[in-house]
C-alpha cells in the first residue's frame, strides 16, 4: 500500500446558537491518501486480494491517529472513501466496507453499530460530508451529525482517500425528542 499523505482534523465547538457549551463538542477526522491498488489494471473482477492487503493496514494507520487527538471516549463514528476519477466507487467501497477496516475501529472504541459511510468519486479538492451515528445505538438522535472534510490536492485520479471520523458527544445543545416518542 502506497500512502502519499495523512490528514487529521479536529473541531472543538465551544458555543452554539450563542449559548456556551459546558464542555467542547469535539469531532475529529483521520484520513489517508493512498494509490488506488487497482489503478491501471483495467476491470478487476476479484477485489479481495488488495482489500485483504490494504484494509487492515488502513485501520492500523488511522484508528490510533484518530483516537490520539480526542481527549474523551468516542460516542459517535463514521467513515469515508473518496475515489479519484479514474477509479470505480467499488474500489473505495471495497476498502471501507470490510470487517478488516471497520472492526479495529469498532473494537478500539467499544462500538457495536454499523459505521455510517460516504462513498464518492470526485476530483481532488472535493468537499465530502461524513455521517456519524452513535457507536452502540443507531437510533440515538442526539448523535446524528455530519463532519465536512476537504483535502485540496486529493484524491488524484489514481488515488483513494480513506478516512474515519469520530465525535466525543452528540450535537451541541442536542434537544430533539427521542426516537419513538414523536407525536403521531
Amino acid at each position: 500500500m502506497k500512502v502519499r499523505k495523512l490528514v487529521t482534523l479536529v473541531q472543538e465547538t465551544q458555543a452554539e446558537g450563542g449559548e456556551p457549551l459546558s464542555s467542547p463538542a469535539t469531532v475529529a477526522f483521520a484520513g489517508a491518501v493512498i494509490t488506488n491498488p487497482w489503478a491501471g489494471r483495467g476491470f478487476v473482477e476479484d477485489l479481495s486480494p488488495s482489500i485483504n492487503e490494504s484494509a487492515p493496514r488502513l485501520a492500523e494507520l488511522l484508528v490510533p491517529r484518530l483516537i490520539s487527538v480526542l481527549d474523551r471516549p468516542v460516542e459517535a463514528y463514521g467513515k469515508a472513501a473518496i475515489v479519484g476519477v479514474n477509479g470505480e466507487i467499488e474500489h473505495g467501497s471495497g476498502l471501507i466496507h470490510t470487517l478488516q477496516f471497520g472492526d479495529p475501529f469498532r473494537n478500539a472504541v467499544a462500538g457495536t453499530t454499523l459505521l455510517p459511510a460516504v462513498e464518492k468519486r470526485a476530483a481532488a479538492g472535493t468537499v465530502f460530508d461524513i455521517p456519524l451515528k452513535h457507536i452502540t445505538d443507531m437510533t440515538i438522535r442526539s448523535h446524528h451529525q455530519t463532519f465536512e472534510v476537504r483535502v485540496a490536492d486529493a484524491p488524484h485520479p489514481d488515488e483513494i482517500l480513506v478516512g474515519l471520523a469520530a465525535a466525543t458527544g452528540g450535537r451541541p445543545h442536542a434537544r430533539l425528542r427521542e426516537f419513538g416518542s414523536d407525536p403521531s
Binding site: K5, L9, Q14, G18, P24, A152
Partner: protein, 210 residues
C-alpha cells in the same frame, strides 16, 4: 440576524466573566477551534524522508468591533489574545510534537463580511499574537501572513517561511484553512500555521545560487 449577533457577543462576554472553569468549555473566547494536520509521506511517487508535517490551527471569534467605527483597536486585541493566542500556540506546538520541530511558520485571518480588513489585521499583526508565537518556536523572522475578507467557507492559503531565515526558499510553502460555517459576517477566523520541514524535494536553489 442583528439580534443573534448581539446574543453571541453577550454570551461570550458572560461566559468569560462568570462561573468556574468546570462550568464552561474553556476560557478561550472562540465559538470553535480547529486543527488540521497533514503528514506528507510521498511526493510525486517518492518517499519523503523524515516527518514532514504541516499544521494549521484556527479559532472562530466574534468580531469585537463589528458595526461601529473604532479608532483604537488595541484594547480589543489585548483582551482577545489574553486567552486566544496561548490556546492557538499550545495546540500548534502540541500537534507539531514539540516547538523544536517547527521550521517554518505563518499566520492568517479571514474577516467576516460585516467587518473591516483592519479588524483582522489587528488580531494577527500584534505582539500579543506574533511575538508570543515567535518566542514559542524560538524564531527570529517576521511571520508570513495572509488576510482575506470573505463569506463563511472561504479558503485561505496561509504562506509560511523559515522561522529564523525568511529568505530560505526551500521553506516557502502554504497550508489552507477552510471552515464551512465560518466566518459569519460578524466573526473573524484567526489562524496559525507551521511546518516541520521544507517543501518535499525542494530544489530550486537559493539567492546565492541564482
Amino acid at each position: 440576524m442583528a439580534d443573534s449577533f448581539t446574543t453571541m457577543q453577550d454570551t461570550v462576554v458572560d461566559c468569560r466573566a462568570s462561573g468556574t472553569a468546570t462550568e464552561r468549555a474553556s476560557e478561550v473566547p472562540a465559538r470553535a477551534l480547529l486543527s488540521r494536520v497533514e503528514d506528507i509521506e510521498q511526493e510525486y511517487g517518492q518517499s519523503v524522508p523524515g516527518l514532514l508535517r504541516r499544521i494549521v490551527v484556527a479559532a472562530v471569534v466574534k468580531n469585537p468591533w463589528v458595526g461601529r467605527r473604532v479608532d483604537d483597536l488595541s484594547p480589543g486585541v489585548e483582551s482577545m489574545h489574553r486567552e486566544l493566542a496561548p490556546a492557538l500556540i499550545q495546540r500548534l506546538v502540541s500537534h507539531a510534537g514539540g516547538k523544536e520541530r517547527i521550521e517554518a511558520f505563518g499566520k492568517g485571518v479571514i474577516v467576516g463580511i460585516g467587518g473591516e480588513v483592519e479588524h483582522g489585521a489587528a488580531l494577527i499583526h500584534t505582539p500579543h499574537l506574533g511575538d508570543l508565537f515567535r518566542m514559542a518556536v524560538e524564531g527570529t523572522s517576521i511571520i508570513a501572513f495572509g488576510e482575506l475578507r470573505a463569506e463563511a467557507g472561504a479558503v485561505l492559503s496561509i504562506p509560511m517561511w523559515h522561522t529564523r531565515a525568511a529568505a530560505t526558499r526551500s521553506h516557502y510553502q502554504a497550508a489552507e484553512v477552510h471552515i464551512p460555517d465560518a466566518p459569519r459576517p460578524d466573526e473573524i477566523v484567526v489562524a496559525l500555521a507551521a511546518s516541520t520541514g521544507p517543501r518535499p524535494f525542494a530544489r530550486i536553489g537559493d539567492r546565492l545560487t541564482d
